[in-house]
Protein backbone atom coordinates (compact mmCIF):
# COMPACT_ATOMS: atom_id res chain seq x y z
CA UNK A 1 0.00 0.00 0.00
CA UNK A 2 1.28 3.41 -0.99
CA UNK A 3 1.24 5.35 2.29
CA UNK A 4 1.14 9.14 2.35
CA UNK A 5 2.66 10.77 5.40
CA UNK A 6 1.16 14.22 4.90
CA UNK A 7 -2.31 15.34 5.88
CA UNK A 8 -4.60 15.60 2.86
CA UNK A 9 -4.88 19.33 2.18
CA UNK A 10 -7.13 19.04 -0.88
CA UNK A 11 -10.44 20.89 -0.99
CA UNK A 12 -13.02 18.91 1.05
CA UNK A 13 -15.42 17.31 -1.42
CA UNK A 14 -17.10 14.56 0.61
CA UNK A 15 -20.34 15.32 2.44
CA UNK A 16 -21.78 13.06 5.11
CA UNK A 17 -25.47 13.53 5.96
CA UNK A 18 -26.92 12.01 9.11
CA UNK A 19 -30.56 12.29 10.17
CA UNK A 20 -30.74 13.20 13.85
CA UNK A 21 -32.33 10.48 16.02
CA UNK A 22 -33.95 9.35 12.80
CA UNK A 23 -36.93 7.23 13.87
CA UNK A 24 -37.85 9.51 16.78
CA UNK A 25 -37.58 12.62 14.62
CA UNK A 26 -39.77 11.07 11.92
CA UNK A 27 -42.38 10.15 14.54
CA UNK A 28 -42.29 13.69 15.89
CA UNK A 29 -42.64 15.03 12.38
CA UNK A 30 -45.67 12.82 11.71
CA UNK A 31 -47.42 13.15 15.06
CA UNK A 32 -47.50 16.75 16.04
CA UNK A 33 -48.37 16.04 19.68
CA UNK A 34 -45.08 14.21 20.16
CA UNK A 35 -42.95 17.23 19.27
CA UNK A 36 -40.94 18.58 22.14
CA UNK A 37 -41.69 15.45 24.18
CA UNK A 38 -39.17 12.87 25.36
CA UNK A 39 -39.83 9.94 23.04
CA UNK A 40 -38.43 6.44 22.78
CA UNK A 41 -39.04 4.23 19.76
CA UNK A 42 -39.07 0.48 20.33
CA UNK A 43 -39.50 -2.53 18.08
CA UNK A 44 -42.24 -4.05 20.19
CA UNK A 45 -44.49 -2.41 22.76
CA UNK A 46 -44.98 -5.62 24.72
CA UNK A 47 -42.62 -6.40 27.56
CA UNK A 48 -39.49 -4.57 28.57
CA UNK A 49 -38.30 -3.70 25.07
CA UNK A 50 -35.05 -2.04 24.10
CA UNK A 51 -34.87 1.57 22.95
CA UNK A 52 -34.13 1.70 19.22
CA UNK A 53 -34.00 5.49 19.04
CA UNK A 54 -34.50 8.23 21.58
CA UNK A 55 -35.50 11.78 20.75
CA UNK A 56 -33.16 14.57 21.77
CA UNK A 57 -35.58 15.52 24.55
CA UNK A 58 -35.17 11.99 25.95
CA UNK A 59 -31.41 12.00 25.40
CA UNK A 60 -31.04 15.06 27.61
CA UNK A 61 -32.40 12.89 30.44
CA UNK A 62 -29.80 10.20 29.74
CA UNK A 63 -31.96 7.86 27.64
CA UNK A 64 -29.77 6.00 25.17
CA UNK A 65 -30.15 3.51 22.33
CA UNK A 66 -30.00 -0.03 23.63
CA UNK A 67 -31.41 0.83 27.04
CA UNK A 68 -34.35 -1.12 28.49
CA UNK A 69 -37.61 0.81 28.62
CA UNK A 70 -37.91 0.21 32.38
CA UNK A 71 -34.47 1.82 32.88
CA UNK A 72 -35.29 4.65 30.48
CA UNK A 73 -38.50 5.45 32.34
CA UNK A 74 -36.62 5.62 35.61
CA UNK A 75 -34.34 8.26 34.08
CA UNK A 76 -37.04 10.18 32.29
CA UNK A 77 -40.48 10.63 33.80
CA UNK A 78 -43.12 11.25 31.16
CA UNK A 79 -41.20 9.31 28.52
CA UNK A 80 -43.50 8.49 25.62
CA UNK A 81 -42.92 5.08 24.06
CA UNK A 82 -44.03 4.21 20.57
CA UNK A 83 -43.52 1.29 18.21
CA UNK A 84 -41.48 1.48 15.02
CA UNK A 85 -43.37 2.19 11.80
CA UNK A 86 -41.01 1.03 9.01
CA UNK A 87 -42.97 2.38 5.98
CA UNK A 88 -42.56 5.91 7.37
CA UNK A 89 -38.81 5.54 7.74
CA UNK A 90 -38.48 3.98 4.30
CA UNK A 91 -40.33 6.95 2.84
CA UNK A 92 -38.04 9.45 4.55
CA UNK A 93 -35.00 7.39 3.51
CA UNK A 94 -36.08 7.58 -0.13
CA UNK A 95 -36.77 11.32 0.12
CA UNK A 96 -33.29 11.87 1.54
CA UNK A 97 -31.81 9.66 -1.17
CA UNK A 98 -33.66 11.66 -3.87
CA UNK A 99 -32.25 14.90 -2.46
CA UNK A 100 -28.73 13.49 -2.34
CA UNK A 101 -28.95 11.99 -5.83
CA UNK A 102 -29.83 15.40 -7.23
CA UNK A 103 -26.30 16.60 -6.39
CA UNK A 104 -24.02 13.82 -7.58
CA UNK A 105 -23.96 10.46 -9.30
CA UNK A 106 -21.76 9.21 -6.49
CA UNK A 107 -24.09 8.72 -3.52
CA UNK A 108 -23.87 5.84 -1.09
CA UNK A 109 -26.26 5.23 1.78
CA UNK A 110 -24.53 3.76 4.81
CA UNK A 111 -27.74 2.88 6.60
CA UNK A 112 -31.34 4.02 6.71
CA UNK A 113 -30.42 7.35 8.29
CA UNK A 114 -27.06 8.32 6.86
CA UNK A 115 -25.35 8.63 3.53
CA UNK A 116 -22.42 10.16 1.69
CA UNK A 117 -22.25 12.42 -1.37
CA UNK A 118 -18.94 12.49 -3.19
CA UNK A 119 -18.86 15.87 -4.93
CA UNK A 120 -15.80 14.93 -6.92
CA UNK A 121 -18.31 13.20 -9.20
CA UNK A 122 -20.78 16.11 -9.22
CA UNK A 123 -21.39 18.14 -12.37
CA UNK A 124 -19.49 21.43 -12.23
CA UNK A 125 -22.54 23.66 -12.65
CA UNK A 126 -24.07 22.39 -9.40
CA UNK A 127 -21.35 24.01 -7.38
CA UNK A 128 -20.75 27.05 -9.57
CA UNK A 129 -19.77 29.79 -7.19
CA UNK A 130 -21.06 27.93 -4.12
CA UNK A 131 -19.18 26.34 -1.28
CA UNK A 132 -20.06 22.90 0.02
CA UNK A 133 -21.20 24.55 3.24
CA UNK A 134 -23.83 26.42 1.26
CA UNK A 135 -24.87 23.19 -0.40
CA UNK A 136 -25.07 21.57 3.04
CA UNK A 137 -27.40 24.32 4.25
CA UNK A 138 -29.48 23.80 1.11
CA UNK A 139 -29.77 20.06 1.86
CA UNK A 140 -31.04 20.89 5.35
CA UNK A 141 -33.58 23.35 3.95
CA UNK A 142 -34.76 20.87 1.32
CA UNK A 143 -35.23 18.15 3.94
CA UNK A 144 -37.52 20.47 5.88
CA UNK A 145 -39.40 21.57 2.75
CA UNK A 146 -39.76 18.14 1.18
CA UNK A 147 -40.37 16.02 4.28
CA UNK A 148 -41.36 18.35 7.08
CA UNK A 149 -40.33 21.26 9.25
CA UNK A 150 -39.40 19.11 12.25
CA UNK A 151 -36.77 17.19 10.29
CA UNK A 152 -33.15 17.92 11.13
CA UNK A 153 -29.88 16.51 9.91
CA UNK A 154 -26.21 16.82 10.63
CA UNK A 155 -23.88 17.61 7.77
CA UNK A 156 -20.16 16.93 7.80
CA UNK A 157 -17.73 17.91 5.06
CA UNK A 158 -14.15 16.71 4.65
CA UNK A 159 -11.69 15.11 2.26
CA UNK A 160 -12.68 11.51 3.05
CA UNK A 161 -15.64 9.56 4.35
CA UNK A 162 -14.20 9.00 7.81
CA UNK A 163 -13.54 12.68 8.52
CA UNK A 164 -16.87 13.72 6.95
CA UNK A 165 -18.69 11.40 9.36
CA UNK A 166 -16.57 12.71 12.21
CA UNK A 167 -17.50 16.27 11.23
CA UNK A 168 -21.19 15.35 11.12
CA UNK A 169 -20.98 14.22 14.73
CA UNK A 170 -19.35 17.34 16.14
CA UNK A 171 -22.44 19.41 16.82
CA UNK A 172 -25.66 17.47 17.26
CA UNK A 173 -28.43 18.09 16.51
CA UNK A 174 -28.64 20.03 13.27
CA UNK A 175 -24.93 20.79 12.97
CA UNK A 176 -22.79 21.57 9.96
CA UNK A 177 -19.04 21.26 10.26
CA UNK A 178 -16.07 21.12 7.94
CA UNK A 179 -12.79 19.37 8.73
CA UNK A 180 -9.79 20.51 6.72
CA UNK A 181 -6.05 20.09 7.01
CA UNK A 182 -6.06 23.39 8.94
CA UNK A 183 -8.40 22.37 11.77
CA UNK A 184 -7.80 18.61 11.83
CA UNK A 185 -5.51 18.63 14.86
CA UNK A 186 -7.83 20.96 16.75
CA UNK A 187 -10.77 18.61 16.12
CA UNK A 188 -8.80 15.57 17.28
CA UNK A 189 -7.65 17.44 20.37
CA UNK A 190 -11.25 17.67 21.56
CA UNK A 191 -12.02 13.98 21.13
CA UNK A 192 -11.48 10.69 22.93
CA UNK A 193 -10.29 7.57 21.12
CA UNK A 194 -13.75 6.00 21.33
CA UNK A 195 -15.27 9.09 19.71
CA UNK A 196 -13.63 7.97 16.48
CA UNK A 197 -15.90 5.87 14.27
CA UNK A 198 -14.52 2.34 14.28
CA UNK A 199 -12.71 2.61 17.60
CA UNK A 200 -14.68 0.78 20.26
CA UNK A 201 -13.44 -0.79 23.47
CA UNK A 202 -11.25 -3.52 21.96
CA UNK A 203 -9.46 -1.16 19.59
CA UNK A 204 -9.09 1.39 22.38
CA UNK A 205 -7.37 -1.26 24.52
CA UNK A 206 -5.08 -2.17 21.61
CA UNK A 207 -4.10 1.46 21.13
CA UNK A 208 -3.63 2.17 24.82
CA UNK A 209 -1.47 -0.94 25.20
CA UNK A 210 1.21 0.80 23.12
CA UNK A 211 0.75 4.19 24.79
CA UNK A 212 -1.65 5.79 22.30
CA UNK A 213 -4.10 7.47 24.64
CA UNK A 214 -5.89 10.00 22.42
CA UNK A 215 -6.63 10.76 18.74
CA UNK A 216 -3.76 13.21 18.43
CA UNK A 217 -1.26 10.57 19.53
CA UNK A 218 -3.02 8.15 17.18
CA UNK A 219 -2.49 10.62 14.34
CA UNK A 220 1.19 11.04 15.17
CA UNK A 221 1.93 7.32 15.37
CA UNK A 222 4.00 5.99 12.45
CA UNK A 223 2.26 3.59 10.06
CA UNK A 224 4.75 0.85 10.87
CA UNK A 225 3.78 0.89 14.56
CA UNK A 226 0.07 0.81 13.73
CA UNK A 227 0.61 -2.05 11.29
CA UNK A 228 3.01 -4.20 13.29
CA UNK A 229 2.20 -3.45 16.92
CA UNK A 230 -1.40 -2.27 17.15
CA UNK A 231 -3.59 -3.81 14.47
CA UNK A 232 -1.16 -6.52 13.28
CA UNK A 233 -2.58 -6.17 9.78
CA UNK A 234 -3.18 -3.83 6.88
CA UNK A 235 -5.80 -2.18 9.09
CA UNK A 236 -2.95 -0.23 10.65
CA UNK A 237 -2.08 1.25 7.26
CA UNK A 238 -5.73 2.03 6.59
CA UNK A 239 -6.05 3.89 9.91
CA UNK A 240 -2.85 5.80 9.19
CA UNK A 241 -4.34 7.06 5.91
CA UNK A 242 -7.89 7.51 7.18
CA UNK A 243 -6.84 9.75 10.06
CA UNK A 244 -4.95 12.01 7.60
CA UNK A 245 -7.97 12.52 5.36
CA UNK A 246 -7.00 10.12 2.56
CA UNK A 247 -9.85 8.04 1.22
CA UNK A 248 -9.66 4.34 2.04
CA UNK A 249 -13.33 3.58 2.71
CA UNK A 250 -14.75 4.05 -0.77
CA UNK A 251 -15.35 0.35 -1.24
CA UNK A 252 -18.39 -1.54 -2.45
CA UNK A 253 -19.57 -4.21 -0.07
CA UNK A 254 -21.05 -7.46 -1.27
CA UNK A 255 -23.93 -9.31 0.31
CA UNK A 256 -22.49 -12.37 2.00
CA UNK A 257 -25.32 -13.32 4.33
CA UNK A 258 -29.06 -12.83 4.41
CA UNK A 259 -30.84 -13.38 7.69
CA UNK A 260 -33.34 -12.47 10.37
CA UNK A 261 -33.23 -12.34 14.13
CA UNK A 262 -36.11 -12.40 16.58
CA UNK A 263 -36.22 -11.98 20.35
CA UNK A 264 -38.85 -14.41 21.61
CA UNK A 265 -42.08 -12.84 22.78
CA UNK A 266 -42.14 -15.11 25.84
CA UNK A 267 -39.67 -17.29 27.63
CA UNK A 268 -41.95 -20.13 28.68
CA UNK A 269 -43.20 -21.24 25.28
CA UNK A 270 -43.09 -24.80 24.05
CA UNK A 271 -40.53 -26.04 21.55
CA UNK A 272 -43.28 -26.28 18.90
CA UNK A 273 -44.13 -22.62 19.40
CA UNK A 274 -40.47 -21.72 19.00
CA UNK A 275 -40.35 -23.78 15.79
CA UNK A 276 -43.32 -21.80 14.45
CA UNK A 277 -41.31 -18.64 14.92
CA UNK A 278 -38.24 -20.23 13.33
CA UNK A 279 -40.40 -21.23 10.36
CA UNK A 280 -41.71 -17.69 9.98
CA UNK A 281 -38.15 -16.33 10.01
CA UNK A 282 -37.05 -18.92 7.42
CA UNK A 283 -39.88 -17.81 5.12
CA UNK A 284 -38.78 -14.21 5.51
CA UNK A 285 -35.14 -15.13 4.80
CA UNK A 286 -36.21 -17.11 1.72
CA UNK A 287 -38.18 -14.15 0.36
CA UNK A 288 -35.23 -11.82 0.87
CA UNK A 289 -32.87 -14.30 -0.76
CA UNK A 290 -35.05 -14.65 -3.86
CA UNK A 291 -35.73 -10.90 -4.01
CA UNK A 292 -31.96 -10.50 -4.44
CA UNK A 293 -32.03 -13.11 -7.23
CA UNK A 294 -29.78 -15.41 -5.24
CA UNK A 295 -29.46 -18.98 -4.03
CA UNK A 296 -27.52 -20.15 -0.97
CA UNK A 297 -25.65 -23.24 0.09
CA UNK A 298 -25.21 -22.59 3.81
CA UNK A 299 -27.69 -22.28 6.68
CA UNK A 300 -26.79 -20.94 10.10
CA UNK A 301 -29.01 -20.94 13.18
CA UNK A 302 -28.04 -19.43 16.48
CA UNK A 303 -29.64 -18.56 19.79
CA UNK A 304 -28.87 -16.69 22.92
CA UNK A 305 -30.05 -18.53 25.99
CA UNK A 306 -30.36 -17.89 29.66
CA UNK A 307 -27.88 -20.07 31.51
CA UNK A 308 -29.13 -23.32 33.01
CA UNK A 309 -28.55 -21.85 36.44
CA UNK A 310 -31.09 -19.14 35.70
CA UNK A 311 -28.61 -16.42 36.52
CA UNK A 312 -29.45 -14.58 33.28
CA UNK A 313 -25.90 -14.80 32.04
CA UNK A 314 -26.29 -15.07 28.34
CA UNK A 315 -25.01 -18.15 26.61
CA UNK A 316 -24.61 -18.50 22.90
CA UNK A 317 -25.30 -21.51 20.76
CA UNK A 318 -25.06 -21.91 17.03
CA UNK A 319 -24.94 -24.58 14.33
CA UNK A 320 -24.48 -24.47 10.59
CA UNK A 321 -24.77 -26.72 7.58
CA UNK A 322 -23.37 -26.50 4.06
CA UNK A 323 -25.28 -28.20 1.27
CA UNK A 324 -23.69 -29.59 -1.89
CA UNK A 325 -26.32 -27.97 -4.08
CA UNK A 326 -27.73 -24.44 -3.91
CA UNK A 327 -31.20 -23.92 -2.48
CA UNK A 328 -33.65 -21.04 -2.45
CA UNK A 329 -37.07 -22.27 -1.28
CA UNK A 330 -38.59 -21.48 2.12
CA UNK A 331 -39.25 -25.16 2.61
CA UNK A 332 -35.61 -26.18 2.16
CA UNK A 333 -34.32 -23.40 4.39
CA UNK A 334 -36.75 -24.38 7.14
CA UNK A 335 -36.04 -28.11 6.80
CA UNK A 336 -32.29 -27.53 7.17
CA UNK A 337 -32.66 -24.94 9.93
CA UNK A 338 -35.08 -27.13 11.88
CA UNK A 339 -32.71 -30.10 11.67
CA UNK A 340 -29.93 -27.94 13.15
CA UNK A 341 -32.25 -26.42 15.70
CA UNK A 342 -33.21 -29.80 17.17
CA UNK A 343 -29.92 -29.78 19.08
CA UNK A 344 -30.42 -26.27 20.47
CA UNK A 345 -30.20 -25.92 24.25
CA UNK A 346 -33.23 -25.08 26.45
CA UNK A 347 -34.10 -21.60 27.78
CA UNK A 348 -33.94 -19.97 24.38
CA UNK A 349 -34.10 -16.21 24.39
CA UNK A 350 -33.85 -15.36 20.70
CA UNK A 351 -33.50 -16.98 17.30
CA UNK A 352 -31.05 -16.00 14.60
CA UNK A 353 -31.23 -17.65 11.19
CA UNK A 354 -29.34 -16.75 8.09
CA UNK A 355 -28.18 -18.23 4.82
CA UNK A 356 -24.72 -17.82 3.33
CA UNK A 357 -22.44 -19.00 0.51
CA UNK A 358 -24.65 -17.00 -1.81
CA UNK A 359 -24.56 -17.29 -5.56
CA UNK A 360 -26.48 -16.09 -8.56
CA UNK A 361 -29.96 -17.62 -8.53
CA UNK A 362 -29.48 -19.37 -11.87
CA UNK A 363 -28.19 -22.89 -11.34
CA UNK A 364 -26.41 -23.91 -14.51
CA UNK A 365 -25.36 -27.32 -13.26
CA UNK A 366 -28.56 -29.21 -12.61
CA UNK A 367 -28.22 -32.20 -10.37
CA UNK A 368 -29.72 -35.65 -10.86
CA UNK A 369 -32.78 -34.25 -9.11
CA UNK A 370 -33.39 -31.64 -11.78
CA UNK A 371 -37.12 -32.37 -11.97
CA UNK A 372 -37.50 -31.70 -8.26
CA UNK A 373 -35.51 -28.47 -8.63
CA UNK A 374 -37.64 -27.21 -11.51
CA UNK A 375 -40.86 -28.08 -9.68
CA UNK A 376 -39.71 -26.35 -6.50
CA UNK A 377 -38.70 -23.28 -8.49
CA UNK A 378 -42.10 -23.12 -10.22
CA UNK A 379 -44.06 -23.43 -6.96
CA UNK A 380 -41.87 -20.94 -5.12
CA UNK A 381 -42.14 -18.51 -8.03
CA UNK A 382 -45.93 -18.79 -8.05
CA UNK A 383 -46.16 -18.17 -4.30
CA UNK A 384 -43.82 -15.17 -4.56
CA UNK A 385 -45.93 -13.78 -7.40
CA UNK A 386 -49.12 -14.01 -5.32
CA UNK A 387 -47.44 -12.47 -2.28
CA UNK A 388 -46.08 -9.67 -4.43
CA UNK A 389 -49.49 -8.96 -5.93
CA UNK A 390 -51.65 -9.25 -2.81
CA UNK A 391 -49.23 -8.39 -0.03
CA UNK A 392 -46.55 -10.20 1.93
CA UNK A 393 -47.56 -13.40 3.70
CA UNK A 394 -50.78 -13.79 1.73
CA UNK A 395 -49.58 -17.37 1.29
CA UNK A 396 -47.44 -18.87 4.03
CA UNK A 397 -46.93 -22.15 5.84
CA UNK A 398 -49.98 -23.10 7.90
CA UNK A 399 -48.05 -23.60 11.13
CA UNK A 400 -46.78 -20.01 11.03
CA UNK A 401 -50.33 -18.60 11.19
CA UNK A 402 -50.17 -17.79 14.94
CA UNK A 403 -46.95 -15.82 14.37
CA UNK A 404 -48.31 -13.36 11.82
CA UNK A 405 -49.12 -10.73 14.41
CA UNK A 406 -45.99 -11.38 16.44
CA UNK A 407 -43.16 -11.30 13.91
CA UNK A 408 -43.26 -8.13 11.86
CA UNK A 409 -40.81 -6.81 9.34
CA UNK A 410 -38.48 -4.42 11.08
CA UNK A 411 -35.98 -1.93 9.84
CA UNK A 412 -32.64 -3.60 9.28
CA UNK A 413 -29.74 -1.62 10.72
CA UNK A 414 -26.50 -1.19 8.85
CA UNK A 415 -27.96 -2.26 5.55
CA UNK A 416 -30.09 -0.59 2.92
CA UNK A 417 -30.52 -3.68 0.76
CA UNK A 418 -34.16 -4.21 1.62
CA UNK A 419 -35.38 -0.59 1.69
Amino acid sequence: MNLRESINDAEPMVMHIDLNSCFATVEQQARVRLRGRPLAVVNRLAGDAMVITASYEAKTHGVKTGMRISDAKRLCRGLVVTETDPPKYRYVYHKLLDIMNSYSASVSMKSIDEGVIDFKQAPGHLLSGRTLEQVGLEVKARLKAEVGGAMRCNVGIATNRFLAKTAAGLHKPDGLDVITADNLRKVYAGMKLTDLTGIAERNRERLESVGIMNPLQFLDTPAEVLHKMVFMSVNGDLWHQRLRGWEVDDVETQTKRIGRQFVLDGFTMSFDEILQRLHNLCESVGERLRAQGMSARGVYVGTRTFGMTGDKRRNYWHAQFVSQVPFFSNDTIYTLAKRLFMSAPPDIRDINVHVYLLSDGEDNQLSLFADEYVRSKAITGAVDEINYRYGERTIHAANTLPTNRIIKTKIPFGSTRYL
Binding site: Q29, R31, R33, V80, V81, T82, K88, N387, Y388, R389
Partner: protein, 87 residues
Protein backbone atom coordinates in the same frame (compact mmCIF):
# COMPACT_ATOMS: atom_id res chain seq x y z
CA UNK B 1 -46.81 3.80 26.38
CA UNK B 2 -49.23 6.50 25.39
CA UNK B 3 -52.88 6.78 24.71
CA UNK B 4 -53.80 6.02 21.14
CA UNK B 5 -56.95 4.45 19.70
CA UNK B 6 -56.99 2.19 16.66
CA UNK B 7 -60.05 2.79 14.47
CA UNK B 8 -61.49 1.53 11.22
CA UNK B 9 -63.94 4.22 10.11
CA UNK B 10 -64.90 5.13 6.57
CA UNK B 11 -64.86 8.92 6.40
CA UNK B 12 -65.94 11.70 4.05
CA UNK B 13 -63.00 13.88 3.14
CA UNK B 14 -62.50 17.20 1.43
CA UNK B 15 -59.01 17.30 -0.04
CA UNK B 16 -57.13 19.81 -2.13
CA UNK B 17 -55.30 18.49 -5.19
CA UNK B 18 -52.73 20.81 -6.66
CA UNK B 19 -49.17 21.15 -7.86
CA UNK B 20 -45.98 21.30 -5.83
CA UNK B 21 -44.37 19.09 -3.23
CA UNK B 22 -47.67 18.07 -1.63
CA UNK B 23 -50.12 17.52 -4.47
CA UNK B 24 -52.85 16.06 -2.24
CA UNK B 25 -53.80 17.71 1.05
CA UNK B 26 -56.80 16.64 3.11
CA UNK B 27 -58.54 19.79 4.36
CA UNK B 28 -61.26 18.37 6.57
CA UNK B 29 -63.10 15.13 7.18
CA UNK B 30 -66.36 13.93 8.71
CA UNK B 31 -66.55 10.85 10.90
CA UNK B 32 -69.52 8.44 10.91
CA UNK B 33 -70.69 10.01 14.18
CA UNK B 34 -71.11 13.30 12.31
CA UNK B 35 -68.16 15.05 13.95
CA UNK B 36 -66.14 17.23 11.58
CA UNK B 37 -62.39 17.58 11.93
CA UNK B 38 -60.61 20.48 10.27
CA UNK B 39 -56.99 19.64 9.48
CA UNK B 40 -54.64 22.33 10.73
CA UNK B 41 -51.37 20.56 9.85
CA UNK B 42 -50.24 17.54 7.90
CA UNK B 43 -47.37 16.01 9.83
CA UNK B 44 -46.29 13.50 7.23
CA UNK B 45 -47.67 11.80 4.15
CA UNK B 46 -46.16 8.49 3.23
CA UNK B 47 -47.17 5.64 0.96
CA UNK B 48 -47.51 2.03 2.03
CA UNK B 49 -48.18 -0.93 -0.19
CA UNK B 50 -50.50 -3.86 0.31
CA UNK B 51 -49.47 -6.10 -2.54
CA UNK B 52 -49.88 -3.93 -5.62
CA UNK B 53 -52.31 -1.54 -3.87
CA UNK B 54 -50.88 1.76 -2.73
CA UNK B 55 -52.32 3.31 0.41
CA UNK B 56 -51.34 6.92 1.13
CA UNK B 57 -51.09 7.49 4.87
CA UNK B 58 -51.59 11.01 6.21
CA UNK B 59 -50.69 11.82 9.80
CA UNK B 60 -52.65 15.00 10.52
CA UNK B 61 -53.75 17.12 13.44
CA UNK B 62 -56.61 19.51 14.13
CA UNK B 63 -54.65 21.14 16.93
CA UNK B 64 -56.43 19.18 19.64
CA UNK B 65 -55.72 15.60 18.59
CA UNK B 66 -53.64 13.69 16.07
CA UNK B 67 -55.26 11.44 13.46
CA UNK B 68 -54.07 8.95 10.90
CA UNK B 69 -56.20 8.88 7.77
CA UNK B 70 -55.51 6.61 4.81
CA UNK B 71 -56.37 7.01 1.15
CA UNK B 72 -56.71 3.79 -0.84
CA UNK B 73 -55.62 4.77 -4.33
CA UNK B 74 -57.23 1.71 -5.91
CA UNK B 75 -60.67 1.98 -4.35
CA UNK B 76 -60.56 5.79 -3.89
CA UNK B 77 -61.73 5.48 -0.29
CA UNK B 78 -60.65 7.19 2.91
CA UNK B 79 -60.35 5.53 6.33
CA UNK B 80 -59.68 6.96 9.75
CA UNK B 81 -57.38 4.36 11.31
CA UNK B 82 -55.86 5.96 14.40
CA UNK B 83 -56.50 8.79 16.81
CA UNK B 84 -54.55 10.12 19.75
CA UNK B 85 -55.39 12.99 22.08
CA UNK B 86 -52.84 15.64 22.89
CA UNK B 87 -50.63 14.60 25.77
Amino acid sequence: MFDETTLNERIDVIARFGVGLNPCEPVKFRRPNGREVVVSEIGLRHPTVQGKRTIHVFDVTDGAADYRIEFDSEHLTWQLTRMGDRL
